[in-house]
Amino acid sequence: MSEFIVNIIHRPELAPEYAEKLSGQGKVDDIGRKSLLDESLEIFRFQQDEAHKNGLKTTIQMTYASLFSQEIIDMAKEYHEKYGDEIALSLLGLPCTQFREKYKTKDFCIWMFSMEDKKAIVDDVFGKFREAFGCDPESTGSYYMDAELINYIKEKYPSVKSAVATCWEEGPKAYHTCNNSWYTFLDGGPWAPWIPSKVNTHVPAESEEDDSGIVAIPHLSRDLMACYDGNGSNFGTHPQNVLRGMIYEDGEYPYLYNLIDQYRSLEKYNNGYSYNMMFVGPGWLNKLGRWEAPYELLKKSYEDGMAYYGKLKQEGKLLDMTMAEFADYYRQKKHYTEPEVALWRDILYGSDKQYVWYLDPDMRVGINADLGGAIFDLRPYAAKLSIPVGIGTGNPANASYPFLIQDKYRAGYFTHYAGEGTIRSAKLTCDGQEVDLCLTRSHAHYAKEGKDTIITLDPVEVVFAEKKIRLQTVYTFTEGSSAIRTDRRVLSLTGEGGPVEIQDYITACYGTNEYSEDMTGIVLTLSDGKRQKKIDYEYRCREEELEGGKVEAAARIPQVNTKLGFTCGAENATGHIREGYAFSPMFTLSFTGTLQEKEVFTTWLNLQKAD
């Protein structure tokens, strides 16, 4: 039986991040304005009423400011008793007069504080919570919770079992959209709930020893294509984000329901379970409206969102849970190495484009069916990078998990005039002509066989002047293995002309944003145990090759403590390594061989911790 779980979260913020900026235009900064406080409380009450009206329970995330208000404390207790709402504690919503006076700062993102301040703030906020409710909370959260912070909270407040811990692909794109003034760099994490590793929050725990002790949920359930390809802030289970994207007409926004329904459909790939989270901060229901959307539309969209979840519940298609309830459910439902998979289609632009997302403790992988099944995003979770973030760490704000492939930040197949972009694909050549599989549009299909997750692309045709080849790509991910197997099945090979050669390749680099990093220190090798060739990266365009089976082409990338190994099953294949240059700061690992009808050209891409 399939189950679709939803977490509805509200926070009585009192000084909403957005509302102060919006409603305060033309006034001096006064975070304690009475009108702002009154309006914030009214918004919280409205949100709660809408959920309850539709038969949905909520998680109330108390903010620091709200813990100074007996009125809100009493309201929360009443909601808890009457509706079963969970009273949790948010590390969002820190800004208020009391906080600013005590900490002498306008910072409000918990992961950006120094570790010393993080501990002090956590103890302060948790202490106030205990004072108000006589116990510690079971759930907490922020836009991002770094591993050191989670570890501290779990050690000091072991009752905490759940946290909002990242926002999927909120990173440089959000920064850009906000006129380079919104510093939430959180790319590279999971899109659905997971158990974070003790070492890095974005990495799913691989075992009990690695388990941080909490179940993490993402801030919103975001469109797994639109948020990657474009501005991430418009495409999530957040009705006012949809309005922000102007994805409505005459007060109608079917996209919001399509988004929820597509998330529901993900149960097919995840053992009968799917998940949604809606978390609208009070600033989004500002009486003055939000950008061009008047208050009436903001309000209506929230009512409609709640009503849709309520309708699904009534039809027996949704289970509403509090965060803590969900944490218990999740630990019963999933095991550590179990992958999370999403086959996602475009539901907005009319492109018929499909992405496949795969995630486990070793990797996060994105496959673009519209690029012939090329891997367009690759995160080496196997390296389990410790990336402390916050003031005093030398890294005040960047919590993104690095990529090896990111085809928006480092091009993909298409580059301007010169150089290469990051992508994992294959080129076919025949009689001097060359075609990259990135130019073959396809669709993907999912299958599960034992521990294998199998993604099969529809066959594609590559047409040369004298020859035609029909080829199918199949990816296999085996649970517990850090290797990605790729089969290129030759279904037919017809026509005259010379042999068809394949170059199965990965072009990669490393980074967390659009700008190139120093590649010095990367070592490329070819080895079969007896022979070895090596290139120390110096931007000199060098290439090496090694013939014969059992060759491994590898890249050691010390900057992200990752070894990327590439092997091939064809005995007559030749391994290649290629260094880039300053205008194309990439490296390429590849295997070449000759394709034969009805044969399969198999390669394995293996992600490992380098040391």
Partner: protein
């Protein structure tokens, strides 16, 4: 000339919106126009609304309700 203010609604620059930038516009009472602080866009409320509608050109399925998400 007095300082600019926000308009009746808090319009964003339609030109910047189309390049994934959310930029609040301000209103010039004297010229009766909204203007962008980042780019060269200026326009009346009517023009802003018209350009906002234009920005939706890319959402071909904006009003379509999908009833299945099957990949097979």
């Amino acid at each position: 000339m007095a300082q600019s203010t926000k308009g009746r609604l808090n319009y964003r620059c339609p030109s910047c919106f189309m390049r994934d930038l959310d930029l609040d516009m301000f209103y010039d009472e004297e010229k009766k126009e909204y203007y962008c602080l980042r780019c060269q866009y200026v326009g009346s409320e009517e023009d802003v609304l018209q350009k906002n509608q234009m920005a939706r050109f890319r959402y071909k399925d904006m009003l379509k309700r999908f009833d299945r998400f099957d990949f097979d």
